[in-house]
């Protein structure tokens, strides 16, 4: 019996030792990723943090797809291409207000907050980075620019929205709606700070990052939307003379095609002298799009859906009759902006005879200009001059702000705060571009100058996702009453409803 007790004691001690040894093995950590504590220690890592924000910007939720739909469907320059236009897009186009479950709107909401959270992470980690202070500060400037861009999308489309300035760390860190004025203050403070931290330009592997001038241009745009034209003018004047209009209007939207069927590849005109800020895309040549939408996945496609969505095969979107009829007779920009049936495509920037595109080639509804009803599609960002493919997501960089836009914003500021003649001078710079070469305008009154700005913005920037913001600004200023111009979207709500994806998960918003 004693022997047994000894054995039992021995066995028990052995078990105890084994259990203590096992306790240690319970401390398993993730072996596949760095941790919050070990990463974002160097300026290079912080720069990766800001790269991730750009990656959201070009994702399917934003500029890669739903962002251009949101603006174009709410603006007045598009019409439905036919039954193929999916319901949420058609809803934005035709209804005064979308339902709270509208997926286009919800994706833009998600995408902008993805950018904001990532920007907040970079800004929170920056003070701990000391190895390369100049690079750190530039990265901070970029993060603030991108955060401001995202908040401007939110405040201009939704009004009062939740405002986060630090990364959310608790599952209950809910924020309710912040008054729009406070969000404008944050945007202006971010952009002002960014102008002091960002360089005037970039080269090589940094092309595409936000510059000091991009921050000023954005600041001007934001001030205008807020109604402060004097502050807007001050900011926009920073760019005056620092950029030039490219001689060929088409160079803003063409060329970047990588497809086995197009050889040799055409010369693109990305990052040109007119571009203030553009979102970069890349055509891998594999006809793929990042359907995951979030911009995550370092080997995922980095293409934009615009040429496919607005093209002749999917044909979701066509130019509206209103924009077609806005063009003056003989304005060469009409042919630079639209393709009509009967036009020649596959001309490779005019170097070849190409082929005539027939109505049968075009899976779109017809539109009417000057009494002529035929099929038309947008030519801006179209690849039809090189490729007639059934499916081809594009590599064109999307211009967010180009110098012509800046000049016309300056014109609007001058019309509001200065003289019609000063406004006309900016408008006429745009009209005098060599390939455009339209006669100058000479408005006599403030209202005439405003009308001239409204016309010029339409024909210069048609289909460039600025019209929606313009309409909101002009409607608020009462132009659609005072100028005798019809509201292009009468009855449309000023602000979108907060998506139900947010209201159903955020108890701070009711």
């Amino acid at each position: 019996m004693k022997k047994n007790i000894k054995r039992i004691v021995f066995a028990a001690s052995l078990t105890l030792i084994v259990i203590i040894a096992c306790e240690k093995k319970l401390n398993v950590l993730d072996q596949n990723n760095p941790t919050q504590e070990s990463y974002f220690k160097t300026a290079a890592e912080l720069q990766n943090g800001v790269n991730a924000i750009y990656s959201n910007l070009r994702s399917g939720r934003l500029v890669g797809r739903e962002w251009f739909f949101l603006h174009d469907m709410r603006g007045s320059e598009t019409a439905s291409g036919g039954a193929q236009l999916e319901q949420p897009r058609a809803e934005l186009l035709t209804q005064p207000t979308p339902s709270t479950v509208n997926s286009v709107m919800t994706d833009v909401w998600r995408g902008t907050y993805n950018m904001i959270n990532r920007a907040n992470l970079v800004l929170a980690k920056a003070p701990g980075v000391t190895d390369n202070v100049p690079l750190r500060d530039r990265v901070v400037g970029e993060a603030k620019f991108l955060r401001a861009w995202a908040y401007f999308e939110l405040v201009s489309q939704w009004g009062d929205v939740p405002m986060y300035t630090e990364p959310v760390e608790s599952p209950t860190g809910f924020k309710g709606k912040e008054p729009a004025a406070n969000i404008y203050n944050l945007i202006i403070s971010d952009l002002t700070d960014a102008t002091t931290k960002l360089p005037v330009s970039y080269s090589g592997a940094d092309l595409g990052r936000a510059s000091k001038y991009a921050a000023y241009a954005m600041l001007g745009k934001v001030q205008m939307q807020k109604g402060d034209y004097a502050a807007a003018k001050t900011a926009l004047l920073q760019l005056y003379g620092k950029f030039t209009l490219v001689p060929n209007f088409l160079w803003n939207f063409d060329g970047d095609i990588n497809d086995p069927a197009v050889s040799p590849a055409p010369t693109p005109h990305e990052f040109n002298s007119e571009s203030v800020f553009e979102v970069a895309f890349f055509d891998k040549g594999d006809n793929n799009f990042n359907w995951g939408y979030t911009g995550e996945g370092s080997t995922q496609p980095v293409a934009i859906m615009r040429p496919q969505e607005y093209g002749i095969v999917w044909g979701n979107v066509v130019p509206s009759n209103r924009i077609l009829n806005e063009f003056e007779a003989g304005d060469p920009r009409y042919n630079f902006t639209f393709f009509e049936e009967g036009d020649r495509i596959l001309t490779r920037q005019g170097t070849q005879t190409g082929v005539v595109m027939t109505g049968a080639d075009m899976n779109v509804a017809a539109s009417t200009k000057g009494g002529i009803t035929i099929k038309r599609v947008y030519r801006k960002y179209s690849d039809l001059d090189w490729l007639k493919s059934s499916f081809h997501p594009g590599g064109f960089n999307q211009r967010v702000i180009r110098y012509a836009d800046v000049l016309l914003m300056l014109a609007e500021c001058e019309a509001e705060t200065g003289t019609p003649a000063q406004a006309a001078a900016y408008i006429n710079e745009v009209r005098a571009r060599p390939t455009v070469n339209m006669p100058p305008v000479a408005p006599a009154s403030k209202n005439d100058a405003l009308k001239a700005v409204i016309h010029e913005r339409a024909v210069e920037l048609a289909g460039e996702e600025v019209n929606n913001i313009d309409i909101l600004r002009w409607r608020k200023k009462g132009y659609f009453t005072s100028l005798g111009i019809a509201d292009p979207k009468p009855g449309q709500v000023e602000f979108l409803p907060i998506p139900s994806a947010e209201t159903s998960t955020n108890p701070a918003i009711k």
Partner: protein, 1040 residues
């Protein structure tokens, strides 16, 4: 002499010593005979065991046995179908005895986890199924054979051949994570049960309540299915069995879809114009060069093209035998099941070997090895939003399936000419989306039993569960001359993903079993560790040709590997006590430490207790004949959910380094991006479920009639929930794992059985039914409800289910339809829907508004509870009988009182976008066709008539003849004489599955699986693979 042979001699010495030590104890050779008390016929295959040891033998053909035991030993004689009997040897050398037949299941031995118990002494809710019943249903996956067999165990078939059915024991216990039960094969926990051949299973015991399952502690909430595999008999003979069948499966259900004529009418009604392909000149153009058949002459029935007969066959050969020293069982099996749709199939090769050796009276060694290789051919699109069946519905009848002039041989649509962009479902399945999942699995264990004394045993075992999975997909270069996304590929894409998992299990177990007069105590103590290591290797790349199907020198190669591990350490103890076999008490506790949880939260305790009272053993029950068995049971226990389901470090915040990119300077990948994509949670800990169970087991008329009834209540607290955080938090993965919420399931289960005999006709009937209710009690702070199941692009606006406290999980949630607007005045005078609402649109009911009252506006506040996918009752009944050499079995299974949200009808009649559709669309509302329930056909469905509403909600009740089989057994006398004794049994049978289904449901199959795998999207029919009907012919042969 070499060193090796030196060691060999040491081992020999040791073995010799063992032999001596075991033989010094005085042994008597006892012989005898076991007969049936009723008819004095010998009983074959009865186990004669020396009590408290593993020393045992079995009776042979004439019922005789021989065993060496000490003179003071007690022999225990057990055999299925008879009451066990204990006989003290008392120095005798010849013992004959008769056993009393105990028809009914009250005498069988039940595996209770880390031990066994006779059914009559069980105090918890355990259902069992034996090998014979399993083999009645020719199914490739054993879970299919469980369907409807047990009260409280729900099995829903899901997906393509080789896919795991959805098995739920006593309802859903978790919202975010799969409620799959834990499977234990010969003591080793394993996840993937589809690798096993159920013909190797001797018995399956399902531990349903916590007092039974809590012995598996943290992983037991969803129930435990304990599988015991076949072992050899100790009758000194070789047994060879052959089991084989061949059959065909077929999907006979068809939806009413438009043919070409109907499609043409619908095109004009919906689009306002005919599709160009059906106008001149296309309508008269041949469908491809080299044929005379035009589009106008083509009328493809896409359902008939898609569904095809799927042959299935399965063969298993097993060989077993044994004697007093050793026994073994080995088998090989082959399963091949072709799908009823193109591209899907399942094939499996099985091998099994187990043996057991009584080294001495003290030591017994045994091992079991399973090896299998399964190949599941799948369709990468079968679970997608636009599944192949969605495309079968949408594909235009004027389009051909095949086109020999294209690269690849199939034909796709041109959205401009054909009016829409469905993809060719047959091309998708056969050319573009085939996948192959190959899993090599090795599951093995070895154990050593040490019998210190007749009442104290020790068992040490080691187990390994190794799985090597390879997912391979080849997407070729092709061009189907269509003009939509996916009409062509200019590069071939190869995906090669490997997944390795190794689980090592060490178990040390001591068992005490002793009688003290009328007291009987059994105690078990276990120490166990389980470690899993995983590795994944994902490779992908392109090839410029279809002839290279590997990644050698591929373009755009990308490779990613990850590694992970988890560790579980457990201590457990259990004591069973019975007094005079009347009063039964059992109690246990398990303490688990799991690496998955946050630091400081790693340990959890899982206690259980149960009591039983065998009323029939009381004196006052002695003088009656009505009740042959009466037992009352009650149990309680706490269990957990398998934390490994959450991943290895679910609480940890990680940086996704270099996981995104931006093409600066138009270079790819340009700059790499790093960020944090998900919130973490350092408070994360065990989810626990507390369960009560009371039960009654009754046997009447000498157990001819048996009844088991159970009531249970289980409440899950600390419910682990993947809480969706607001999009404004900005995380790419907007979920965080939290312990929030609580949930209850409660219900009643009944099992009734009857055995009857009239002359040569013997029959039995059994029925089971369960009534289970589910209730969500609490959700995360700040989360009033959770919606799920929305898919606006294809299935209409709004989510389909909602989960909130006070209601059952994921009830169907949407609008109520109050008919169709007939006039503009009616639209104007009704609550406002949308600006575009017009006559012919559905009128939705105004239920609520911002103030909780109807507000004259139809918006998302007007959604309400529409129904539940949970049946009020699930039932099964089995009728079987045999007459002379014929046997007949029929098994019905059904559910009653549930709803199905038939989202497939959004595709057939929702008219969201233009495609081919169901014939219902021709009955759409028009000013001249007002007596209809189909709303107007209008571009883009501006009113949202296809939104989630009562329109698509259907009654999901069904009764199904799950299996019917008729067999004939050749009489053994003739068989023996014909085959000169080599064949001892021969049965041939035909059987059929799903041959009859009674239901009002209008879709393909009321047995609706779950496309997303989430616990919140059950009962939504998104047009997925239906259950086929099947017929088989099979043989069962025994050689001796």
């Amino acid at each position: 002499m070499s060193k090796q042979s030196d060691q060999f001699s040491k081992v020999l010495c040791f073995a010799f010593l063992l032999f001596i030590s075991s033989s010094v104890l005085a042994q008597n050779r006892v012989t005898g005979k076991v007969i049936n008390q009723a008819d004095n016929q010998p009983i074959v295959g009865a186990t004669v065991q020396e009590k408290g040891t593993t020393n045992a033998t079995q009776t042979i053909n004439d019922g005789t046995f021989a065993i060496n035991v000490p003179g003071n030993a007690i022999l225990v004689i057990t055999v299925v179908g008879y009451s066990a009997q204990e006989v003290p040897v008392n120095g005798r050398t010849n013992i004959s005895l008769s056993l009393q037949s105990a028809s009914g299941a009250l005498t069988e031995v039940v595996v209770i986890g880390y031990g066994t118990q006779t059914r009559k002494n069980i105090t918890s809710a355990i259902s069992s199924i034996d090998n014979k019943t399993l083999n009645e249903v020719p199914a490739s996956n054993f879970a299919q054979a469980l369907q409807g067999r047990m009260a409280g165990v729900s099995v829903v078939n899901n997906g393509t051949p080789g896919s795991q059915p959805i098995v739920r024991i006593r309802g859903i216990s978790s919202i975010t994570f799969s409620s799959d039960p834990l499977y234990i094969v010969d003591g080793i926990p394993t996840g993937d049960i589809s690798s096993f051949d159920m013909r190797d299973f001797e018995s399956v015991d399902v531990l349903k309540d916590a007092s039974a399952s809590a012995i598996y502690g943290s992983r037991a909430t969803n129930g435990v299915i304990v599988i015991t595999t076949k072992k050899g008999k100790r009758d000194g003979k070789l047994h060879v069995g052959l089991n084989s069948y061949y059959g065909v499966q077929r999907v006979t259900e068809r939806l009413d879809l438009l043919d070409r004529e109907g499609f043409m009418k619908y095109a004009v009604a919906y689009r306002g114009s005919q599709v160009p392909r059906l106008l001149s000149p296309w309508v008269n153009t041949p469908i491809y060069n080299g044929t005379t058949q035009t589009y106008g002459q083509t009328n493809t029935n896409w359902q008939d093209e898609y569904f095809r007969d799927g042959p299935m066959t399965q063969t298993n050969i097993d060989l077993s035998g044994g004697n007093q020293v050793s026994r073994f069982s080995t088998s090989v099996g082959y399963t091949d099941q072709q799908g009823t749709a193109p591209g899907v199939a399942f094939r499996r090769y099985n091998f099994k070997l187990s043996s057991e050796h009584n080294i001495s009276k003290v030591f017994t060694f045994g091992e079991t090895v399973f090896a299998s290789n399964s190949i599941q051919k799948g369709d990468a699109n079968s679970g997608g939003t636009r599944s192949n069946l969605v495309n079968v519905i949408r594909m235009m009848p004027h389009m051909p399936v095949y086109d020999p002039t294209t690269n690849g041989g199939y034909r796709g649509v041109d959205a401009t000419l054909d009016g829409g962009d469905p993809t060719n479902p047959i091309e998708d399945a056969e050319l573009k989306n085939p996948t192959k999942n190959t899993t090599a699995k090795l599951l093995a264990n070895a154990f050593l039993d040490i019998n210190f004394t007749s009442w104290l045993k020790f068992k040490s075992s080691v187990g390994i569960d190794y799985a090597n999975g390879l997912f391979y997909r080849f997407q070729p270069i092709f061009n189907d001359s269509g003009k939509i996304n996916g009409s062509s590929a200019t590069q071939a894409t190869i995906t090669n993903n490997r997944n390795l998992s190794t689980v090592l299990l060490f178990t040390q177990q001591a068992t005490f079993d002793k009688r003290f007069d009328a007291h009987h105590v059994t105690a078990t103590a276990v120490f166990e560790t389980q470690q899993q290591k995983q590795k994944t290797e994902n490779g992908r790349g392109n090839q410029p040709t279809n002839s290279l199907r590997v990644l050698n020198n591929a373009l755009n190669q990308s490779v990613s590997t990850t590694t992970g591990e988890n560790f579980l350490v457990s201590l457990l103890g259990r004591v069973n006590y019975d007094y005079k076999g009347k009063y039964l008490v059992s109690g246990g506790i398990r303490r688990d430490g799991l690496s998955v949880w946050a630091p400081g939260k790693k340990w959890g305790n899982f206690p259980s207790a149960s009591i039983g009272w065998k009323v029939d053993q009381e004196d006052f029950m002695k003088n009656q004949n009505l009740f042959s068995g009466v037992k009352l049971r009650a149990g309680w226990g706490i269990t957990g959910i398998n934390g490994v389901l959450l991943g290895n470090t679910p609480w940890l915040v990680n940086v996704s380094a270099n996981s995104s990119s931006y093409p600066y300077n138009n270079l790819n990948p340009g700059g790499l991006g790093s960020s944090i994509n998900k919130l973490g949670n350092k408070e994360l800990e065990w989810e626990t479920t507390e369960q009560y169970n009371v039960g009654l087991d009754l046997g009447l008329f000498e157990n001819k009639l048996t009844l088991t009834a159970d009531y249970f209540h289980r409440q899950t607290d600390n419910l682990i929930l993947n809480v969706t955080t607001p999009p404004s938090f900005g995380y790419i993965d907007p979920t965080v794992i939290e312990n929030v919420g609580s949930l209850e399931n409660y219900g009643l289960e009944f099992v009734l059985g009857y055995n009857g005999q009239a002359g040569d006709f013997r029959w039995n009937a059994s029925a089971n039914a369960s009534f289970i209710k589910n209730n969500v009690l609490k959700l995360a702070e700040g989360i009033p409800n959770i919606e799920a199941g929305g898919d606006a692009a294809d299935f209409g606006n709004y989510n389909v289910t909602n989960t909130k406290p006070g209601e059952p999980i994921q009830y169907f949630y949407g609008f109520i339809v109050d008919g169709i607007f007939q006039t503009a005045a009616e639209v104007a005078n009704s609550p406002k829907q949308v600006a575009a609402t017009a006559p012919g649109d559905l009128k939705f009911r105004d239920i609520s508004g911002p103030n909780g009252k109807p507000d004259g506006i139809i918006d998302d506040k007007d959604r309400t509870k529409l129904g539940s996918y949970l049946p009020k009752v699930s039932y099964g009944f089995n009728l079987s009988g045999d007459y002379k050499n014929f046997d007949l079995g029929m098994f019905f299974q059904g559910v009653q009182g549930n709803s199905i949200y038939n989202d497939t009808r959004v595709i057939t009649e929702g008219m969201i976008r233009f495609f081919n559709a169901g014939t219902q669309v021709l009955n759409a509302w028009t000013p001249t066709n007002i007596n209809t329930n189909i709303p107007r056909a209008v571009l883009g469905d501006p009113n949202g008539n296809a939104r989630t509403s009562t329109r698509f909600l259907e009654n999901g009740s069904y009764l199904r003849l799950k299996n019917i089989s008729l067999g004939y057994t050749i009489p053994s006398a003739s068989l023996t004489s014909w085959t000169k004794g080599t064949v001892s049994g021969f049965r041939v049978y035909v059987s059929g599955q799903n041959l009859l289904t009674f239901t009002d449901y209008s879709g393909y199959d009321p047995e609706v699986g779950n496309r997303t795998g989430s616990s919140l999207t059950n009962g939504i029919d998104w047009a997925i693979y239906p259950q086929p009907k099947a017929v088989q012919v099979g043989i069962q042969v025994n050689f001796q």
